[in-house]
């Protein structure tokens, strides 16, 4: 997955588990950037009676580096709090919830948002209400108009913010990919699937009809970028207090000490696919500025060496990944992947494009804010982003519908290596690599306006 349950430790702490991060120039407000950090993976819509909510004991952050040193220059911090209307009831709601202030909603969640920069801590909003989870037509009628949309809060300075449940927008065929890197559309060539006689078939979106919790903030570009530097680096993190003592005999527990980072996310799939299992938890505790220690895993990705082994023949008799296998065997570092994931793409590599932030190697989602959004109606729009000639898409930031699984799969398979070695011949099969999904694989797709994440699936209509 992008970063769902991507490391052993965080897989046991869902409320702190960052699943996806998006950063894009707002298509309907191009003087602003929208940043979305998703948490709580694989929410089952019918997951009551205690429906999903953010952790009140966590500090959620969205960081922005605007001078290329891998350190945050601006951080938006979010603190959540849950308030019960009637603590003697076991119910999440005691009747239809028709507004955010409805007393029938028993378990309300609210939050504060602060901007932290070198000038200090600036409170942007307090006691901002989240929407309830989408339970069903009886409990949460007219969900988006009555509850979702009113939870978009306009703050001073042209900032908008939203925090709450949304439909998962990341699409991926988990059931197949985690079954020995199988891609259903190509599985007749997978050495294991071939042995079972499995024929090619369409991909299946394993995250469809599931929800996540989104923290979304829309900020004027001028609030984020440094003078003369249009590219920003973005990542999210969640932190817990250093120590906690469990409560007993009716007494509350204790949490104390500095905030300790337990989860982070910049580029999709970085920790999931690049970092080895033994270092995934460690990676989650590290700041991007220390990512040089992981650069060798980017330069020599394990998946690149596995593809020629798992797909030895497409069609039978050929060697579809012959060039990739030779590249891996050569031991040459993948400078293309290092640029895409760790420094941004320097000028002169892709005509008219750069999101280079400097030599500091740090896993950040890099967005060149001077590149205007590509309208979805434009022939230039492509969910494969930059590799398909659409510079407004990943890895220039990340839009909600971008097909990051296919992009990164093809990049690791050698598609982007000619950027640094023009004589390299990409294996023909690379352009066919896909798990078979597109943005259309998401039933509740993205909205046309902030917070852009789709309307969450309700439990009544999506019970399993």
């Amino acid at each position: 997955m992008s970063s769902h349950r991507e490391a052993p430790e965080i897989s046991k702490d869902p409320v702190a588990d960052s699943t996806d991060l998006y950063a894009f120039v707002s298509p309907d407000k191009p003087d602003s950037v929208t940043l979305i950090a998703n948490y709580i993976p694989l929410e089952e819509p019918a997951g009551g009676p205690n429906f999903y909510e953010f952790g009140g004991d966590l500090l959620y952050n969205i960081h922005i580096d605007n001078n290329g040193d891998g350190e945050p220059d601006i951080t938006y911090q979010f603190h959540f709090e849950t308030v019960l209307t009637d603590s003697d009831s076991f119910l999440y709601n005691t009747g239809p919830i028709t507004s955010l202030t409805d007393k029938t909603w028993n378990s309300k969640q609210m939050y504060s948002v602060e901007r932290v920069d070198r000038r200090g801590v600036h409170v942007l909003g307090r006691r901002l209400l989240c929407p309830p989870c989408n339970i069903g037509p009886l409990s949460t009628p007219n969900y988006e108009s009555a509850l979702g949309r009113p939870a978009v809060h306009s703050l001073s300075g042209g900032i908008k913010v939203f925090a709450g449940q949304r439909a998962e927008q990341f699409y991926v065929d988990l059931g197949s990919i985690f079954d020995l890197a199988n891609l259903r559309p190509l599985q007749s060539a997978n050495v294991f699937a071939h042995a079972l006689g499995l024929g090619n078939m369409p991909g299946v979106n394993a995250t469809n009809h599931l929800n996540v919790h989104s923290i979304a903030i829309q900020v004027p570009i001028s609030d984020l970028k440094a003078k003369g530097r249009p590219t920003i680096g973005v990542w999210t993190s969640a932190s817990r207090r250093a120590v906690s003592v469990a409560g007993s005999d009716g007494e509350d527990g204790v949490a104390s000490g500095p905030w300790r980072q337990v989860s982070r996310l910049g580029n999709p799939l970085f920790n999931e696919v690049i970092v080895p299992l033994g270092k995934k938890d460690y990676w989650n505790h590290q700041p991007p500025v220390h990512d040089k220690q992981f650069a060798s895993y980017v330069a020599h990705p394990e998946l690149a060496s596995l593809l020629p082994v798992i797909y030895p023949a497409i069609p039978p008799g050929s060697a579809p990944f012959a060039n990739l296998a030779a590249l891996v065997k050569s031991g040459k570092p993948r400078a293309d992947l290092e640029a895409i994931l760790l420094t941004g793409i320097p000028p002169g590599i892709v005509k008219g494009f750069t999101n280079f932030t400097g030599p500091t190697q740090a896993d950040m989602l890099r967005l060149n804010t001077s590149i205007p959004p590509t309208p979805t109606s434009s022939p230039k729009y492509n969910v494969l982003g930059l590799v398909a000639g659409d510079p407004a898409g990943f890895p220039n930031g990340r839009r909600i519908a971008d097909d990051v699984v296919t992009i990164e799969l093809r990049a690791i398979a050698g598609l982007t290596y000619p950027l640094v070695n023009p004589s390299y011949q990409v294996d023909a099969v690379v352009n066919a690599l896909t798990d078979g999904l597109t943005g259309a694989s998401v039933t509740n797709g993205p909205l046309g306006q902030f917070p852009y994440m789709g309307i969450p699936y309700d439990g009544y209509h999506n019970p399993s």
Binding site: L59, T75, V116, V121, V245, S256, G257, W259, Q286, P287
Partner: protein, 121 residues
Amino acid sequence: MSGPDDLTAATTPVPATQGPLSRRSVLRTAAGASLAAGALAATNVPALAATTRSAARHDTADHAAAGHAAAGHAAASHDADGPIVVHLRDARTGEIDIFRGTSQTRLHDHALAALLIRASR
């Protein structure tokens, strides 16, 4: 920092409820409460803080995540009067962490370490 008084405290058994408030009584309370993770009332703190303050140590990632002097987090002021948790990291070296609010203080105090160990038995 630790000195002869601390050594005496560390080698002399004392009742956990002994008063009045002093550094020693605070430590006894801490040890008696739950040893390495003893939660103390903030009102018991000043003497301890005055004698053991050392450079606060911040987690590497969160120090970077803060990234700016102001990012000690507003939350620090929210719970500065909250409980204190004492963590005996290494009994041999007397390395002890004290957590209060969003701060962490590291000290080396053999006497206090010995006291905590004895109180836990």
